[in-house]
Structures are given as structure tokens and as C-alpha cells.
């Protein structure tokens, strides 16, 4: 259920108070941008989509019934808009590079053993920080896997909140999260070239 401060905020948003809009942006801008950035993978795109999200929330706030938390409703809009942006960018990219199967979505999905092409020698994992590989691997994951890792591991949302945000069962959250992390681990292991992969 929506927390008390959010309930008050929603009431004021429904009255179209400018101050309430400002308060909403202040309260959620970091999380919303972080979620969108985690899914889209580009800071400027994330910024643009986040603006659309806040304006859409202000516009459609009357459709928020209060059954769910306001924050998860907001994150769901952010997540959906981010995925739509990826599709749009992929279509644009596809038009620009027709014939090349180079959409980000298809890379790891099409190769369960670890995704993209072999790293060039200068991109070798030797000596590279794990954090760099994690960031890189995250960007290579399919959007639905990236999204769930961002919500859980970056934004620290509970399974219940993720389920509400994605409108799926908690069991789905657990299994999708496990698969997402597993694909990321494959990506990292492939670049570390570990003998005994976890």
C-alpha cells in the first residue's frame, strides 16, 4: 500500500499542485533515472525518458487508484518507458544498419553460453576490474534481465516491490533474477576464461 507521505503527495498531485510535482521529482528523480539508465544504458536517453515519466505521472495521476505503492507504480511507468525507448532505438538502429543483427537485445539472448563476440586482445579481461566487466555485461543483457538486476541489485527493491513494479508473481521475480544473474556470470566467466566456472 502507498505510504502516508506518498498518499498526501498523490492527493496534491491530483489537485495539480505545482509544488507537489516538484516534490515528486525531488523525491524520486535519483531512483527513476537510475532505473531507466540501467535499462537503457545511456545517460542522456535516461534523462530524457525520466522527464517524460514525471510528466506522464502528473498527467495520468487520476488513474492511480492507490491499490499499489505509488513508488512501484511510478517505477513501472519508468521501466515500461525505458523498454519502449530501447525498442525504438533498436528499430532506428536496425533501419540504419539493415542486414546487421546488431541489436543489443539479441546478443546474449542468442548465445546462452555467454553472449557477444570474443573480446579483442585489447579488451581482454586480464587485469581489468570486475566492476568494469559487470557494467559491460549488464549493458549486454536483454532488457528484461537488465531491468530485474537493476531493480534488485542496484535499487535494492524487495522481491515484493519488484513483483508489483513488473506486475508479475514473486516466483517469477526469483526465477527471472536467477536467470539474469546467471547470464551475467556467464558473460564475466567467458571473459575471465575461468577453468572452473561457477
Amino acid at each position: 500500500m502507498t505510504s502516508r507521505p506518498d498518499r498526501k503527495l498523490v492527493r496534491r498531485l491530483k489537485q495539480r499542485e505545482e509544488e507537489a510535482f516538484t516534490e515528486m521529482v525531488r523525491r524520486y528523480q535519483d531512483q527513476v533515472i537510475s532505473i531507466i539508465h540501467g535499462i537503457v544504458g545511456d545517460r542522456e536517453e535516461a534523462r530524457e525518458v525520466a522527464q517524460e515519466v514525471f510528466i506522464a505521472v502528473f498527467k495520468y495521476i487520476d488513474s492511480f487508484r492507490g491499490d499499489a505503492k505509488f513508488s512501484t507504480w511510478l517505477f513501472r511507468i519508468a521501466s515500461n518507458r525505458a523498454k519502449n525507448r530501447i525498442k525504438y532505438l533498436a528499430r532506428r538502429n536496425h533501419r540504419q544498419h539493415q542486414g546487421l543483427d546488431d541489436t543489443r537485445e539479441s546478443r546474449i539472448e542468442s548465445n546462452p553460453a555467454g553472449g557477444g563476440a570474443d573480446p579483442r586482445p585489447d579488451e581482454s579481461a586480464q587485469g581489468r576490474e570486475l566492476a568494469d566487466l559487470v557494467q559491460e555485461g549488464l549493458e549486454e543483457l536483454a532488457p528484461k534481465y537488465r531491468e530485474i538486476i537493476v531493480l534488485r541489485d542496484v535499487e535494492d527493491l524487495s522481491y515484493a516491490d519488484i513483483a508489483e513494479t513488473l506486475d508479475v508473481a514473486e516466483g517469477t521475480v526469483k526465477s527471472r533474477l536467477y536467470r539474469a544473474r546467471s547470464k551475467l556470470k556467464d558473460y564475466i566467466d567467458a571473459r575471465y576464461d575461468l577453468e572452473d566456472k561457477v
Binding site: S34, A50, F58, L177, V198
Partner: protein
């Protein structure tokens, strides 16, 4: 076997290699989130203590999760709030965060729906009031023939007596 039969038994899993890798990762994923049932979690911890190879496998998995959780924040910059306010101002035709004309924008058309309904209701009331004043008390009787005439004193006949 552990009590929770939906989970693989940590004691039976190989520490490394492809075999049962999915089961191993399933356990690790739930364990780092604190989602394993107590008995499975206990069994996993016993295995981690007893088997260095199994522990190394877990540490490798845990390091990835820690790296994810340590990723630098991608929060808003200082200009974001004013940018989004500016965007709302433009898209609302100046209705919000600025003195401008209303109309022609998504939000002003959306929010003005309520205003249109209010104006329509007010207009209807005005028409009804006008009709009442025009045809009501002075020129006609809006009550049915069976209704008592409230403007006629009921006891008028008594005064003649």
C-alpha cells in the same frame, strides 16, 4: 535431503564444473538475497565451511553481486529538476511553472476537461434557474394540479367565518 524439497541439496552438489551449475547458482542467488529457507541455508553454510572449492565458487558469485551493488549511482544531476519543470511548462502551454496561455497542449487539454465539466454544470444550473425565475413563481405553477398551493394561505376560508 533437506526439509525443503524444492531446493537442491547443498551437500549433494559438485563444487565446480558444468554439472549442476544451474542448481548451484540457484542456491547462491537465493542465498545472497536471504531468500533460502532456514534448513537449506544452514546446509549451504556447512558446505561452504567444509569445502574450500565450493566456497571459492560462492565467493566468485558473491563478488559479482557485490560489484553490481557497488555500481556508481546514476542519479539526477542538479539541472534535472529545472529541466523537467521547464518541459512541463512548455507542454502545458504555460499552465504550470510559468505565466502563459492555456490551450493546445496535452496537459492543458487533459486538465481542462475537469474545467469544461464544471462550466457545463454551471451553465445548466444557470439555465434551470433562469427558467424557474421566468416561468416559476410569477407566471405559472410548476406544481401538478394535485399538489397543494403553497402560495395560498390554507386557512383563508376561516377568516370569512
Amino acid at each position: 535431503m533437506t526439509e525443503s524439497t524444492n531446493w537442491p541439496d547443498p551437500e549433494q552438489l559438485p563444487a565446480t564444473g558444468q554439472q549442476d551449475r544451474a542448481a548451484r547458482r540457484q542456491l547462491f542467488s537465493a542465498y545472497v538475497d536471504g531468500e533460502l529457507p532456514g534448513d537449506v541455508s544452514d546446509a549451504l553454510e556447512q558446505r561452504l565451511e567444509a569445502d574450500p572449492a565450493f566456497e571459492e565458487a560462492y565467493r566468485s558469485y558473491e563478488a559479482m553481486i557485490t560489484s553490481l551493488r557497488d555500481l556508481p549511482s546514476q542519479g539526477a544531476d542538479e539541472a534535472f529538476l529545472s529541466d523537467v519543470q521547464d518541459s512541463l511548462r512548455r507542454r502545458s502551454g504555460g499552465q504550470f511553472f510559468g505565466a502563459g496561455s492555456i490551450g493546445g497542449s496535452e496537459i492543458s487539454s487533459f486538465t481542462s476537461q475537469t474545467r469544461v465539466h464544471e462550466l457545463a454544470a454551471a451553465a445548466m444550473l444557470a439555465v434551470m434557474l433562469g427558467a424557474y425565475l421566468s416561468f416559476g413563481p410569477s407566471t405559472g405553477d410548476l406544481t401538478t394540479s394535485d399538489s397543494p398551493r403553497l402560495d395560498v394561505p390554507p386557512q383563508s376560508a376561516e377568516r370569512h367565518q
